[in-house]
Amino acid sequence: MSDYNFAYLDEQTKRMIRRAILKGLAIPGYQVPFASREMPMPYGWGTGGVQVSAAVLTPDDRFKVIDQGADDTTNAVSIRSFFERTADVETTTETKAATVIQTRHRIPETPLTEGQILVYQVPIPEPLRFLEPRETETRKMHELQEYGLMHVKLYEDISKHGHIATSYAYPVKVEDRYVMDPSPIPKFDNPKLSDCPAIQLFGAGREQRIYALPPYTKVVSLDFDDYPFEASKPNQTCGLCGADDSYLDEVIVDDAGRRMFVCSDTDYCEKRRSAGHRGRDAA
């Protein structure tokens, strides 16, 4: 792969992406259009995140890629090996050791620190998209801060179901200005978005948008006074490490449909197990 530039993209393209990132950081939560390139992986498979990572990676970085919280899911493996080949950066599975973390659908359990960058892969950057399919309309709604439609949707959920029926990609408001889609992370992760010491960058390749949260940005999940936001997770503990504070995946373990719960964050789970923690189902 020596025919390609460092981290695959040419320097002009990286500069264009960095400009979009800087603009995004200057206007937290605002979706900046950028000239997304065709990448050698399909749209919808992390091309936005990959382009953002390519634009921020330096040869000294340590790179971690997770999908569903895990380092060893197939697409995470594929993206990690892409950067191993094209950028020859050091990779790690350790959240603490990573300087750049690309993620799909999760925020690591281990709190992030200053100097780290978390890059989210975003499928649909527009939080209002499923209320209004037209981009021309939704851009206007953001301009005018016309977010009533979103509140009506949440209210209708409550009147119909007794709860806000959104369990992931739960909309947030950034610094009292822009309503933002946090990407399809479970709402359990939403509180981690706010006041985070790391830089958070969001890349949507197919939709050609980048947005960002600078460190320590105020991010509030939308709710009502009498129906406050609740970061929910299964009321269980991890079968392997016993954690009761991490997000859990449900695994079907036999033909009878018996289930167990395990940490979705594999690094967190391994760290706990090597520190001697044991869950109910641990061998």
Partner: protein, 361 residues
Amino acid sequence: MYVAVKGGEQAIRNAHAWLAEERRGDVTIPELSVDQIREQMALSVARVMSEGSLFDADLAALAIKQARGDLIEATFLIRAYRTTLPRFGASEPINTGDMICDRRISATFKDLPGGQILGPTFDYTHRLLDFKLAADGETDIAPERARSEAKIPHVTDFLNREGLIESAVADDATPPDLTRVPLELPADRALRLQALARADEGFLLSLAYSTQRGYARNHAFVGELRIGMVAVEMEIPELGFAIEIGEIHVTECETVNQFKGSKYVPPQFTRGYGLVFGQIERKAISMALVDRALRWEELGEDYVGAPAQDTEFVLYHSDNIQATGFLEHIKLPHYVDFQAELELVRKLRSDAATAMQEAAE
């Protein structure tokens, strides 16, 4: 006993090795060469060049071979390669009036200067399987005649002389490059045509067909369809003038459409335009119909809510590389979101069950 799954890397490597083996198929059957694909699957090659936005028949043939004949996958390979190519500059607009035509037909005039040239077409073939091809593919040499050197004028120019068709207003503004700037709306006609030229053939075909069936009907005549080679010229700054840097094979379609006139414009014919790499008549015609439908606003026509009139709908959904990527991404793991949904549905169901029980009591 459940243990955390490892080994994705090995699984991916093995899957790709199997894919390579399947691509080759039965090794006792001779392998297809890229030359064979380029020469004998020329219309597939044209489609990949057109939707891949890269005129290179050898690379397109290679992509088709690598993609096991999946043309969207082949287009994707070409697109991903194309993005890495440096931009040296932009060519001069091609002049299709100078085209050396393999085919040129008009459905609006029985005869006209330059004549009707049927060329290598499936039209008027009887779609009967030719079992002879299964046994022995060789065919007889087609009869030949010397090509006239005269340029073949565009049909719409004749209509234009009488003022019967709208003038296509010349515009020297450099259109934005869709592959270098994000698509933003409203999109002018040059940008729309650019998007349509690389749009999925099937998508354009269906949209064009829908206009014929009444969803924003704008009855189209094929004023002219021409296929052939045109020279590509580029101005070299060091020289100060344009020189020919190569030739491309293109299909151009100009439609002549009804127009009742509006408050400002007397009744006259209007235009739809299609231009694509290679011989792809179906797409060039579809493109012209969709182009015309998208022009409702500038022509002062009514918006009747038809899909083919909706620029945002058409441009945002016409790219098959974007569409197939996003469609197929749902194969990726979604455990986390599904887990969140499981919890929610369980909670809603238990609430509902409690409510029903209370109602029963």
